[in-house]
């Protein structure tokens, strides 16, 4: 099937969101709900000796206080966040939960709970224990180590060996995570900000030992997630459900912004060693990419940080490793562009250093090392339009005019620098089911139990069904984010569009066939007796040989029709599927004062079929903004002595503000991928990949300084 790009339709929920009429899960009324507030551990390591909740229990409105001592027991492995035992693993770990009639009463009482601890020695930062780095079970979905060829003995005329670091980041969607839970016997209703209604339902069933069928999880509208509402949020979600079980009343738990720095995951800090070798003509001969990253003292998570080095370039000898250091700190988890985001910073900066060393244009170096297949797996690309991305973005940027000389572009007091980077991100797909139904009144409803993080999944589902069925977009209603619906994929890793597209299109096409067959078989239809092959549906109208009938009339007479389809990825793929991109950045640096501004970015992306160019552009800008934050702003700072995150608010944890935004010039390269069902690659992650490197490389072009530790700060530029 030829992939076909969708139209640039504004999102169908734009009006309700902009007017404030949209109802998020936290707005769900739940009669008789108690409100929860958490008591957080102030120590990084130790044990709870005693909890004195007498004062709190006397306070107005307080219903009860949950601690490890009285919380209902959970089946199976639990997180320290779930109040199951007295061990403390990080500052901020919940050690008690207070339930009260109002959220304010709960907070006041939480402050009055006295917890006594026995503290143990703690490792509060990764750098205190680099010698204890160990190999985890996996890095993301893949093996921690890889090796092809012989990187140590590969021939080399030129070599770069450098160390790069990236700090801890936090996700910070605008909407804070919340859960509202109500038990009735062993049946459970959960309204929550979750990126995975089905996965969380299964885990809840296991943890509480109740049947899956008795649990309904609802997450219809999300105000962003970036990974903070997936597996990282699940332990807190359990707290709300646990509290409701204990109290015998519905419970609402909403995290504070400060709690989001400790309780819903983080992008782990990394230390990356890059060794890249090349011939004098710039052909890569060896890459070694060794990473060390932070994990918590109680859990293990490793981003696939070095995997970008396995696939992005042609190189006969490549070795990569992922190691972790256990730290008494919050549990890391995936955050937008996990792995490829920080990993591409190191790889793409090292490439730039190599180009400089060789006296080659950085783009030319990349073109000379274009990979014509996936050298890690040996598989052919499903499609690879990286060269077209380079060409498109470089032309738009005017890269051909780049002077090789450092610091040679000036603009008043400012020195201007140009830098670039390549980007890739794997295509992840999951099994997905979807139903497309037409009701008696002619309304078409798409049902799929996936979620919309805010990027526009709802709109895309409607567009797909409208196009495949032949009805106007306005005739479509979309139901998502509910375990009562056919099971859809979790929202993360740019899964959703690539996973749901085939199922929705199949269901809509099947429905179209059924409608046509019904029409030609129905004596009351003007199309009765036509050959089904001669009937088409367009704009909500069945049309045959000169005669037509509105779909609404047909179903109004003959009844509702629904089709469900299921699609799953090939368990043994015969192709390697990646989205690609090229980013060109211009910075202006005030060399005296160390101030960097990103002035413009031209980027081109090849992501297969584009379902909605307007939404795609927004997604990519969002990704690029995240990359600018990675380059210049974001950093969670931990106090070494106490293990406490210091900047737990959005004034002190800096993310780019509007005034930090450059002019964005984004191109979507046409890419028809015949190997992917639906032809869709996903666009949620790739915008964040490569940006920090392009900016750091531009800073070097302006100033001659290599900044290898993010974020790029004033002190590094004036030192």
């Amino acid at each position: 099937m030829t992939a076909r790009n969708g139209s640039a339709t504004p999102r169908i929920d734009a009006v309700v969101k902009v007017t404030g009429a949209a109802r998020y899960e936290g707005d769900t009324p739940m009669a008789g709900a108690l409100h929860a507030a958490l008591v957080a551990a102030p120590i990084a390591s130790g044990r709870i000796v005693r909890v004195d909740d007498a004062t709190a229990l006397q306070m107005t409105g307080v219903a009860c206080v949950l601690t490890h001592a009285n919380a209902p027991r959970l089946a199976g492995p639990s997180s320290p966040i779930m109040l199951q035992d007295p061990t403390v693993w990080f500052v901020g770990q919940p050690v008690a939960l207070v339930l009260a009639e109002t959220a304010w009463q709960a907070r006041l009482a939480a402050a009055a709970v006295e917890v006594h601890y026995e503290a143990s020695p703690a490792i509060t930062t990764m750098h205190q224990a680099l010698d204890r780095a160990y190999a985890p079970a996996s890095a993301g979905y893949v093996a921690t180590d890889s090796r092809r060829g012989d990187p140590e003995r590969a021939p080399r005329a030129c070599e770069i060996a450098q160390r790069y670091t990236t700090p801890t980041h936090n996700h910070h969607p605008l909407e804070v995570p919340c859960v509202m839970a109500r038990w009735q016997g062993d049946t459970l209703l959960v309204h929550a900000t979750t990126q995975a209604v089905f996965a969380h339902r299964r885990r809840l069933a296991a943890h509480f030992g109740v049947p899956v069928d008795g649990i309904r999880v609802v997450s219809r509208l999300l105000g962003g997630g970036f990974g903070a509402k997936g597996s990282a949020w699940y332990p807190c979600l359990v707290l709300g459900v646990l509290a409701a079980r204990h109290a015998g009343r519905p419970v609402a738990l909403e995290l504070t912004r400060a709690e989001m720095f400790t309780l819903v995951g983080r992008r782990q800090e990394t230390l990356q060693q890059l060794r890249i070798a090349a011939t004098s003509r710039g052909e890569l001969t060896a890459i070694r990419h060794d990473t060390i990253a932070q994990t918590s003292a109680f859990g293990e998570y490793a981003d696939p940080t070095a995997t970008v080095s396995r696939v992005l370039y042609a190189c006969p000898s490549v070795a990569t490793t992922h190691r972790l250091v256990r730290v008494h700190a919050p549990q890391p988890n995936p955050m937008r562009a996990p792995g490829e985001g920080p990993g591409s910073f190191a790889l793409e900066c090292a490439l730039d250093e190599l180009a400089h060393e060789l006296g080659l244009d950085p783009l030319e170096l990349r073109l000379r090392n274009h990979a014509d297949h996936d050298q890690h797996t040996g598989l052919p690309w499903s499609s690879n339009s990286l060269r077209a991305c380079y060409r498109t973005a470089a032309d738009a940027f005017g890269w051909h005019a780049r002077p090789a000389q450092i610091g040679s572009l000036r603009d008043g007091r400012s020195v201007v620098g140009w830098g670039m980077a390549a980007a890739c991100y794997p295509v992840y797909r999951m099994a997905a089911q979807a139903e497309v139904a037409i009701e008696r009144d002619g309304r078409v409803i798409v049902r799929c139990g996936t979620q919309d993080l805010g990027g526009g999944t709802t709109t895309i589902l409607a567009q797909l069904a409208a196009a495949a069925l032949g009805v106007p977009l306005a005739a479509i209603a979309v139901e998502i984010g509910d375990t009562e619906l056919p099971e859809g994929p979790y929202s993360g890793g740019a899964h959703v569009s690539a996973s749901v597209t085939p199922a929705v299109e199949q269901a809509a096409r099947a429905l179209r066939h059924l409608l046509i067959e019904r029409a030609v078989a129905d004596v009351a239809s003007p199309l009765f007796g036509d050959s089904p092959a001669g009937v088409a549906i367009a704009d909500g109208l069945l049309a045959g040989s000169g005669r037509s009938e509105p779909l609404a009339a047909l179903v109004g007479r003959t009844g509702r029709l629904a089709c469900t389809a299921h699609d799953a990825p090939d368990p043994e793929p015969r192709v390697s599927a990646y989205a690609h991109g090229a980013i060109f950045a211009e910075v202006g640096v005030d060399p005296d004062l160390g101030v960097v501004r990103v002035q413009r970015i031209s980027a081109a992306y090849a992501c297969g079929r584009i379902l909605n160019p307007l939404l795609a552009r927004s997604q990519l800008i969002g990704g690029l903004v995240g990359g600018i934050g990675m380059a210049l702003h974001e950093q969670a700072v931990t106090d070494r002595r106490t293990g406490r995150v210091l900047n737990t608010n959005l004034a002190d944890y800096a993310i780019p503000v509007h005034a930090d935004m450059p002019r964005f010039d984004i191109a979507l390269v046409d890419e028809d991928d015949p190997h992917l069902a639906g032809g869709v690659k996903g666009i949620g992650m790739i915008g964040t990949v490569g940006v920090a490197a392009a900016i750091a490389n531009a800073v070097h072009h302006a100033t001659g300084r290599r900044i290898r530790d993010l974020p790029i700060r004033i002190e590094q530029l004036i030192a």
């Binding site: 400060a258 005296d592 501004r597 106090d639 070494r640 002595r641 800096a654 503000v657 930090d660 004033i714």
Partner: protein, 331 residues
């Protein structure tokens, strides 16, 4: 946020009376600093006195003086056409916070905003300013944003106001009312530089304001100095961020020499820091080399860097050089 008593003042007299009868009460106007501190349990005042409706919002630009009511909004002052007589103040206000905050925050509140030190703003960490006697977590901790001037072994937190730095450079005065009965009370005027006190062994005391004393207005002399003034702020992002280093400068040039110079710096001191060494290097000198280089070099007279803020010395010198070049450039 603990329960608290709330009273709305109907007049300045009423505000002072309310304060006198409510020990520990705080005045609230814009609330942009107080409310976040309160929510984070950094402070827990038993009573607030809402002064936001008092008629203290006027900006009057006279021939000899600019008078700014304490309840004037930051945005309104910055946008007042008469403020062109004191560009440093306009620059400082426009570089402060975000547009939304400037629309809500008042001039008086801006002066008494609390430090951005994370150890102060995180309940539970050691901080002599928030919890006297608990120690200073920043010393030996994360001190990148901390002071190189005016610190003590008890506190090294910087003063956060941009406006105050500009006011120090322009010799502003603060009019105060109330603050006790009899001899101790009454109206008084305090030079802005005298309003703030370095932490010493009492970091919780940040100003000379007496309990219940209210800032009524600011007065800025309208002089040749004020007319040739500017404010430069360096921060980690372009907007909505506190100063890493900032400099307010004012030059009175006459007959090709610097008759008078005022420089003050922000982001570097526990109080807005007057750069007297730089001023001395400029007095009576011809603008440009070598005086500007000397003024820049002397900006860090007496500076004492901590573990992670040593870069502020060089940055401060460069900022001083930059503002002097810009001010003299218009000569």
């Amino acid at each position: 946020m603990q329960p608290f008593d709330y009273a709305r003042a109907t007049s300045v007299c009423d505000a002072l009376e309310l304060a006198a009868t409510r020990p520990g009460a705080v005045f609230v106007a814009g609330g942009t600093d107080l409310v976040p501190l309160w929510k984070d349990a950094v402070c827990a005042p038993p009573a607030v006195i809402d002064i936001s409706r008092l008629p203290l919002g006027a900006v009057e630009v006279g021939d000899r003086e600019i008078a700014i009511g304490a309840l004037a909004r930051m945005a309104d002052v910055a946008d007042h056409p008469g403020m062109a007589a004191a560009p440093a103040i306009v620059d400082a206000l426009r570089a402060s916070a975000s547009a939304q905050l400037r629309n809500a925050a008042t001039i008086g509140g801006n002066l008494v905003q609390r430090t951005r030190c994370s150890y102060f703003r995180t309940a539970g960490l050691s901080c002599n300013k928030r919890a006297p006697g608990s120690g200073c977590g920043a010393l030996g901790g994360d001190d990148r944003r901390h002071a190189i001037f005016g610190a003590s072994e008890h506190c090294t937190a910087t003063h956060a106001s941009d406006l105050a730095v500009a006011l120090v450079a322009l010799d502003a005065t603060v009019d105060l009312v109330g603050g006790g009965a009899g001899d101790a009370g009454g109206d008084r005027a305090v030079a802005i530089a005298e309003l703030f006190v370095t932490p010493g062994d009492q970091p919780d005391r940040e100003t000379v304001l007496r309990p219940g004393e209210l800032i009524r207005a600011l007065r800025v002399p309208r002089t040749a100095l004020a007319q040739r003034s500017c404010y430069l702020k360096i921060r980690d992002r372009v907007s909505f961020d506190f100063a890493v280093v900032s400099v307010a400068a004012a030059l009175h040039l006459e007959a090709g020499v610097v008759r008078d110079a005022r420089l003050a710096a922000g982001g570097v001191g526990t109080v807005p820091w007057r750069l007297r060494g730089s001023e001395q290097a400029l007095a009576g000198a011809r603008p440009g080399e070598p005086a500007f280089a000397e003024a820049a070099a002397r900006a860090t007279d007496g500076a004492r860097p901590l573990g992670h803020n040593g870069f502020k010395l060089e940055l401060l010198r460069r900022c001083v050089r930059r503002v002097l070049d810009e001010l003299a450039g218009g000569a």
